[in-house]
Assembly symmetry: C2
């Protein structure tokens, strides 16, 4: 039995008996529109490092007051975040991250030569006073609403207060909004401001994870210029065909996204009610596709579930929450039900409350 | 008239009258095999961060003694280089670059938080004694044979001496061999050793520039592990469809590559003889697709040719050779001939020898 120390342990573990609440990857395919362009596709030359103009124009039309020049198309949100941090980096500068956080954030900060500090979420929510009192020396605040792993969205009032204080103190905001189209409660609130970099991707909204198309939208010209300079030397244009597929996917009627949201909501209800009825302590997610219950000894739970029940969950410690486990519900209702059965069987034998 | 300060000035400048000896981009399309897979393609999920196993296995079969575990598939050679440097980086470490160098190298070194030092090529060739005497404090030597921008290949004896001294002094070698299949004189010599990272791509051999599929092959497990860790957080898997296309391209019969090489050789002869007959001082390239003539006032020449003769050449200063211009001959014979005519017209009026 091998010790499980990171999500990458589970990569390629895909035997048919296994139920995976692990990776945050939609099981529903991208819209047909994305594939429809393939049979006649023949381009092969370098594209613009900044990204295909037509795609950037279409993206800009989704952001009030934006224009194509303010976007850079990247290899997924991951590269958007990496380049944004590198563009803003100065030695030893502090980047303030939410805790719990998306698994990669502390790595990204370190790889950009900066230092992570944290604002602790309370049941997934920002305590503004707490955040405000810890801004000493902070150059960048990272916001992730809706959040992976908590599934929470932040109150619009709180986000506006953060916009204001960041402006006053001349702090950058990097807003990771990759789950913006997956909110069950309200429309997404786009964080605004001259000092804001918005990160997004086609991986969640259009289920295009494998194609790695993301983008960063920054209002300041000099930031875009710096990001392009970095990308010119570190990866050049994003895959030209992936960009065409992303553009084609955006042609899908909005009903597609609404239908997707209904499916996600149904799954959310299923897993939330299921885990709740098993006695687990968790909140009802408002966005994204993760539940984040409290549990005693998450590392043991993860091991037991994987090795004895063929079920993947992630240890909350990987996300800065050592008393929880994360379950993605990006899989069919049938599988969610089967997964819940296995968890029930396991929990009946264990003292899992902490 | 806008001052031209970098290759990116020319991006998107593609009116039909313009002859471009600028960008190093094959005009010949990739093999049909790469496109043949498109009509039925339907995958969309995350792939392995390290790269598709089948692709890595096929790559490994091209490198004696290698196996799939020693490769990481990247967003072009650019990301391979960026990740390799970041994986090996330590603060203030020195990276030794050839001069003239590929435009991006000094940027890549700086972006990885290290410092560039140089070994000067003599008519495109390494002077080993010179290199050897300047290794104090050097952590990484970068080799680029065949070279962009010089078009030269390095003597196998010299490369073996560098392998040896790098091993003795515990220095890493990053060998950028993206033009390995474009040598007119002999087979490519693969630089060997436990401390070697080999970088390559599908952009030149298979004309797949826009799809951004490259790779790094490193013999030391811990280097591969570190590169995968970086890529997990900074871009995740390389575009899954691009990888499938790259694998399909490799199925092309070797005659395809031989035919390509004959075409390149013909073009090389055409441009070399043409420029020589105009009185320019240049050497005959042995690989890649660049000529690198000496010329007086390259910045003025570049400006004049672009603004008055609708012809793109690059200032050698961008490559560390302020007394030269670079011409890519990755375009049709017809266009090369037309380009040579325009250069002839221009040079007839100018004192261009220095």
């Amino acid at each position: 039995m091998q010790e499980i120390t990171s999500p990458s342990f589970f990569i390629g573990k895909d035997n048919p008996d296994l139920i995976s609440f692990g990776s945050g990857q939609p099981d529903l395919p991208p819209p047909d529109e994305a594939f429809d362009i393939l049979p006649t596709y023949r381009d092969f030359k370098y594209g613009l490092v900044q990204g295909m103009l037509k795609l950037r124009e279409t993206l800009a039309s989704q952001y009030s007051g934006a224009n194509a020049e303010s976007f850079v198309v990247t290899n997924g949100a991951s590269e958007a975040l990496d380049l944004s941090l590198r563009a803003l980096a100065s030695p030893k500068a502090k980047v303030m991250l939410p805790r719990p956080y998306y698994y990669s954030y502390p790595f990204n900060v370190r790889f950009a030569g900066m230092e992570s500090v944290f604002y602790d979420l309370e049941k997934g929510k920002i305590n503004f006073e707490n955040l405000k009192n810890n801004l000493e020396g902070v150059k960048i605040i990272l916001i992730n609403s809706p959040s992976n792993p908590t599934g929470t969205i932040q109150d619009i009032e709180t986000l506006k207060k953060i916009e204001k204080i960041a402006k006053e103190k001349n702090i950058y905001i990097i807003s990771d909004e990759v789950y913006k189209d997956l909110i069950y409660e309200r429309e997404n609130y786009l964080i605004q401001g001259e000092n804001v970099l918005t990160i997004n991707s086609f991986s969640k909204t259009y289920a295009m994870c494998g194609f790695r198309i993301g983008y960063v939208y920054a209002r300041r010209k000099e930031i875009i210029k710096k990001i392009i300079e970095l990308k010119t030397h570190t990866s050049m244009n994003t895959n030209i065909l992936g960009q065409e597929m992303a553009l084609a996917a955006m042609r899908v009627p909005t009903i597609f996204l609404e239908d997707q949201r209904l499916i996600w909501r149904k799954r959310r209800d299923l897993i939330y009610d299921g885990l709740k009825s098993l006695g687990l302590d968790l909140w009802n997610p408002e966005g994204a596709f993760y539940v984040f219950p409290k549990i005693k000894n998450p590392q043991k739970v993860m091991h037991d579930l994987y090795y004895k029940y063929k079920l993947i969950v992630y240890n909350g410690a990987w996300f800065g929450a050592p008393e929880r486990i994360r379950l993605s519900y990006a899989l069919s209702e049938e599988k969610i039900k089967e997964g819940l059965k296995r968890i029930k069987k396991y929990l009946e034998k264990e003292d899992f409350k902490n």
